[in-house]
């Protein structure tokens, strides 16, 4: 068959077929749909706008097949004249992915082809997949990502992700093309991405193409829903934490509009009666308008805003009580113009703005802080489909970033505000010398202007090879640069800083080898091994208070800090690992099983005498099992019977997580020490001295989560009450150990107390769709 495919490739003509693939119900463009011309065994995949093109095809009659997971495939007879630039748009009808039978038809896109088209180390997630993963009260994108191989959390209390040994600041988060800098609610417990508003999430765990830059480890590219172009539709959800709603509808015949809003409500309920609870809430919202300017030009305008507001008073009856106000949030906006210059030339242009701001005020101890970052970016991407064997991508990006930190405290001022410019250009080509091969080579160039100028050229290469009709082999390598570093802080939003005269840009090299196999007609297996190097990475200096040096002094001779010297420890490192992912996307049982082995070693100047050590986030073994089971069809599928589609149905979700224990530094001993020479030995005269860095391992982490959803459909409405139980067997996973000590009656009393991760957390909620 491969021989046939190879021969047919030579039979090309000058005609082409192109168009957009839409969701029939909502009119949204579908990203990653497969378009296939059976007669010549050639196809294409729709891009982020739902656009496809198959160039240089022979004239005549062809059968075009379009398929997309979760949608019914569509076939059509197309007659193409000589040199004709045929336009063909299609609308696919959605089907219930869980209830859908997997019937492989001749016109279906095979799993192996879908895998071949997918970039190395890329995983796509749909909103329904995110929603089905059992959750900590609220559906959360980042916690869903933590169930994928190669992505691990540090603890239950943080939604931050560590991708293949990289730190959270090495992940690029984009919403509708706009960078988001601190995607955190509630001190990192939840992410700011409202899953109801999401259309698609593309996760690149490494080896990403030249079109992406600025981060060492991963890209999380979130595309929000454009809105329903045909009908008004909506969704409302109530969880124990928040209320949310998403509404969308057409704007006449020219486009659509979509908006989401979510707000926590315990400040209006529980906090009214429980004095100890702080006044806290978060709110976030998305708005997107999509305009079909004409057949070839689409425009979308997208906004995202979030705000967290925390007021804490230790004693609400005292006017000068110990307490603080802390407000933070993101505001992003983008205008995106997509145009088809010609069937072979597609353009995508953005103007994006991203602002993060936080204000902290702790009056009683005279501490004030403003932390902000502003990013205005212009970027463009051109795709040129020269022929079926050769495609080109070009692009540019120009970033204007300003921001920093202003902090006033007794004894000094920190005033670190900076303006930066980044100019990037890239080009890449995808060459398919035969049906068996796909080679993509690219180059990205950066010019970063700070107190010092950084220029870098990052080559990228991906090679895909069809080993057989059921297996692919892939290789990817690339160089990546990053000019921003994040300072993580206890209970405070991180501060971003950039490379300058004291801190170099960081770099990383990725080497990835992947093997993909279609296991029958239902399952896909991906195995990837990777090796990553890090150079000039920066880790927050935990003893920075002793290392920072002021640049100038106030009129009262107190320090004014204007640089980041002393804030970081420079270092290098490497990560390697192997990941297995077995995935089933449709049927009565869907989900994935994954295993990841990984090892990360860092060396940091001034730490561990310069010797290498495993960082805290290193998890040698990670296992995740995600299962979504359509209980009405579970036994039917196992028995190979035809699936049924009742109006009301039950869905069971199970999530099993196992991580081997994290490295940890424990205190090696305790000792007597008076804080000041004139103090008598007192209860606080005990200090702890640590053992060597991260030489111990915590016990393994494990938990099982469970969810049960009942979908009731009536007259176009769907009501879905659900029960979720996080850590259903209440396993006590150790987070860290707290040490208690005091000197009392001539005896040193010491004790240890385990600080555990989340206990069993049941929650209920309801979703209404109309």
């Amino acid at each position: 068959m491969l021989l046939t495919l190879t021969i047919s490739r030579a039979q090309t003509g000058l005609a082409s077929i192109s168009g957009f693939i839409y969701d029939k119900a909502s009119g949204e463009g579908l990203i990653g749909a497969n378009v296939y011309l059976k007669s010549i065994n050639r196809g294409a995949v729709t891009n982020v706008s739902g656009y496809y093109v198959i160039p240089k095809i022979p004239s005549g009659s062809h059968e075009l097949t379009i398929s997309y997971v979760g949608y019914k495939s569509l076939s059509a007879k197309i007659v193409i004249g000589s040199n004709e630039e045929k336009e063909f748009d299609a609308k696919l009808e959605q089907e219930d992915i869980q209830g859908s039978e997997i019937v492989v038809r001749a016109d279906s896109t095979k799993i192996i082809d879908k895998l071949f088209n997918k970039p190395v180390s890329k995983i796509d997630l749909s909103p329904s997949q995110i929603a089905k993963v059992p959750r900590v009260i609220e559906a959360d994108l980042l916690r869903t990502l933590q169930t994928l191989p190669g992505i691990v959390p540090l603890s239950d209390f943080s939604s931050a992700i560590y991708v293949r040994g990289g730190t959270p600041d090495q992940n690029l988060f984009m919403v509708d093309g706009t960078d988001v800098y601190n995607p955190e609610h509630a001190f990192g417990l939840f992410s700011t991405f409202n899953t109801d508003a999401i259309k698609k999430v593309e996760v690149y765990k490494g080896g990403f193409g030249a079109e992406y830059g600025g981060r060492l480890s991963s890209v999380i590219n979130i595309t929000n829903k454009d809105g329903n172009r045909n009908n008004f539709e909506g969704q409302a959800q109530m969880s124990l934490l928040s209320l949310s709603t998403t509404l969308s509808g057409p704007i006449g015949d020219i486009g659509s509009i979509s908006g989401s809003i979510r707000r926590t409500y315990f400040d209006q309920t529980l906090a009214k009666w429980v004095d100890e609870l702080p006044d806290y809430y978060f709110i976030d919202g998305n708005f997107k308008a999509f305009f079909d300017l004409n057949k070839s030009n689409k425009l979308s305008v997208s906004f995202f805003g979030s705000n967290d507001d925390l007021s804490f008073l230790l004693d609400k009856k005292r006017p000068e009580s110990l307490g603080f106000d802390y407000v933070w949030g993101n505001l992003t906006g983008s205008v995106n113009w997509r145009t088809v210059f010609s069937p072979n030339l597609f353009g995508n242009f953005w103007v994006t703005a991203s602002k993060f701001k936080s204000d902290f005020n702790f009056t009683a101890v005279e501490v004030k802080e403003k932390n902000e970052i502003n990013d205005l970016t212009f970027k463009g991407a051109i795709e040129y489909f020269y022929n079926d064997n050769l495609n080109f991508k070009f692009g540019f990006e120009q970033k204007n970033v300003s921001g920093g930190l202003v902090q006033e405290f007794p004894g000094g001022i920190a005033d670190v505000m900076r303006t930066r410019k980044l100019y990037s250009v890239y080009g890449s080509t995808s060459w398919k010398p035969s049906i068996l091969w796909d080679i993509e080579a690219g180059l990205r160039g950066d010019y970063f202007k700070a107190e010092k100028i950084f220029t870098n050229l990052d080559p990228r290469l991906t090679i895909k090879y069809r080993l057989s009709e059921q297996a692919n082999l892939k290789f990817s390598s690339g160089m990546f640069h990053q000019y921003a570093n994040r300072i993580p802080r206890l209970f405070f939003i991180s501060i971003w800083t950039t490379a300058d005269e004291n801190v170099s840009g960081s770099s990383s090299n990725h080497f990835i080898l992947g093997y993909e196999r279609a296991l029958g007609e239902k399952l896909e297996l991906e195995v990837e091994a990777y090796y990553k190097t890090y150079k000039d990475i920066y880790s927050y200096n935990q003893t920075f208070i002793a290392d920072v040096t002021p640049e100038s002094y106030s009129s009262n001779n107190l320090p004014v800090y204007k640089n980041q010297k002393g804030l970081f420890n420079r270092g290098d490192g490497n990560s390697f690992g192997v990941e297995f992912l077995l995935r089933k996307e449709a049927g009565a049982i869907s989900g994935w099983i994954s295993y990841a082995y990984s090892k990360t070693l860092f060396t940091l100047d001034g730490i561990n005498q310069g010797g290498s050590f495993e960082p805290r986030h290193d998890r040698t073994h990670a296992v995740n099992v995600i299962a979504n089971i359509d209980l009405n069809n579970f036994m039917r599928e196992l028995r190979g019977e035809k699936l049924i589609h009742p109006d009301n149905h039950w869905t069971l979700g199970l999530n099993f997580t196992f991580f081997s224990g994290q490295p940890i530094t424990l205190p090696g001993s305790a000792y007597l020490m008076n804080q000041m020479p004139d103090w008598e030995t007192n209860k606080g005269s005990i200090a702890l001295y640590p053992s060597d860095i991260n030489t111990f391992n915590l016990p393994y982490y494990s938990r099982l989560d469970f969810s049960l959803t009942y979908d009731i459909q009536y007259d176009g409405w769907t009501l879905s009450p659900y029960l979720q139980v996080f850590n259903m067997f209440n396993r006590k996973n150790v987070w860290f150990i707290q040490y208690k000590y005091e000197v009392q009656n001539n005896i040193i009393k010491q004790g240890v107390e385990y600080q555990n991760m989340f206990p069993i957390l049941p929650s209920i909620g309801v979703t209404v769709k109309f």
Binding site: L314, D315, K317, R318, E320, S321, L322, A364, E366, P410, G411, G412, L490, F491, Q542, T543, I545, A546, P550, N556, N557, L558, I593, V625, L654, F658, T665, L666, P667, S669, A670, L672, M673, Q675, M676, P677, D678, W679, N682, G684, A687, L688, Y689, P690, S691, I693, F696, P699, R703, N727, N730, R731, K732, N733, W735, F736, N746, I748, V752, Y754
Partner: protein, 299 residues
């Protein structure tokens, strides 16, 4: 049925691994160390040098058993090369220089050398301090002294700050401030303070936390002659006489004092404090100039 068995196996394993409690072994971390708490003061004899040993985590010894009385301890004046052997004072549980031929000088480097037996091992360590330059003092006229009412206000109703003004020691940029309530007790505690309600039980239990307060001035302009600093009223918890000692500290004390109590990070991990000692000791060998002022906080 085969599929059911595989699924059942998976989730049985899941159930098995998802129960129970994990335990960390703590007893493998101990490594014996000499603990030095050694501060010398220019213009004074060397005394009060405390030498103890560290203890394993989660043990409960009597502190008196920790003092090492038979250490070989000496301090060398690096400018003259002369070494002074220290002897143990069993009443004060510390080492001192018994002779009358030596006072610590300003702006000089001194090296401490110690050898001591801890558990079954002989440990050694050295550390060098450079004493601060002369010139440091509290400027009494512009510093809180005498009697002051709790949160006393001026004629405009503004709360007066507890002011502090210092003559600086040239090139010294760390000034720790020790504030001790001399009459601290549950009867003198300021229950009607402006910040937080504190119950009597809590005062009794945590008396020392309220009694001993440290503040500091760091990274002062090295070219400056004086500096002003306000002690925030949140440092005052008793109607009491207060002793405020301000120190001009060397770099050893600065590094150690700023870092030794904050060795546990927010994710529970530990990191090393900054200790300028070479060898098998932890703690500090530092030098400081001290000046004291007293004031009383009234109702």
């Amino acid at each position: 049925m085969k599929h059911i068995k595989v699924l059942a196996l998976f989730f049985s394993l899941g159930f098995l691994f998802s129960c129970g409690e994990s335990v960390v072994e703590l007893d493998k971390t101990y490594e014996p160390k000499i603990v030095l708490n050694a501060i010398i003061y220019p213009g004074q004899k060397v005394s009060g040098i405390s030498v103890t040993k560290n203890i394993p985590i989660n043990t409960q010894p009597n502190p008196l058993t920790l003092f090492i009385s038979d250490a070989d301890l000496s301090i060398t004046d690096l400018s003259s090369g002369k070494s002074y052997k220290l002897t143990y004072n069993s009443t004060k549980l510390s080492y001192e220089y018994k002779g009358s031929d030596w006072l610590v000088d300003y702006d000089k480097s001194y090296k401490l050398s110690i050898s001591a037996r801890v558990e079954i091992t002989t440990l050694t360590a050295t550390s060098i301090t450079k004493t601060p330059k002369k010139g440091f003092s509290i400027i009494d006229e512009e510093t809180v002294s005498g009697e002051i009412q709790y949160r006393e206000t001026d004629s405009e109703g503004k709360v007066k700050e507890l002011s502090l003004k210092l003559n600086l020691s040239p090139e010294t940029n760390y000034y720790p401030i020790s504030l001790v309530a001399l009459d601290a007790g549950d009867s003198t505690f300021i229950y009607d303070n402006s910040y937080v309600e504190v119950k009597k039980d809590d005062v009794i239990k945590n008396l020392e936390r309220y009694k001993y307060i440290q503040r500091q001035i760091q990274n002062v302009n090295p070219a400056a002659l004086t500096v002003d600093f306000d002690i925030n009223w949140i440092s005052i918890w008793f109607y009491s006489r207060y002793r405020m000692i301000v120190y001009a500290a060397d770099d050893n004390f600065r590094l150690y004092n700023l870092t030794y109590r904050s060795v546990q990070e927010f994710d529970g991990n530990f990191h090393e404090p900054k200790i300028n000692i070479q060898g098998d000791a932890i703690g500090v060998f530092g030098s400081m100039i001290a000046d004291t002022v007293y004031f009383k906080v009234k109702k």
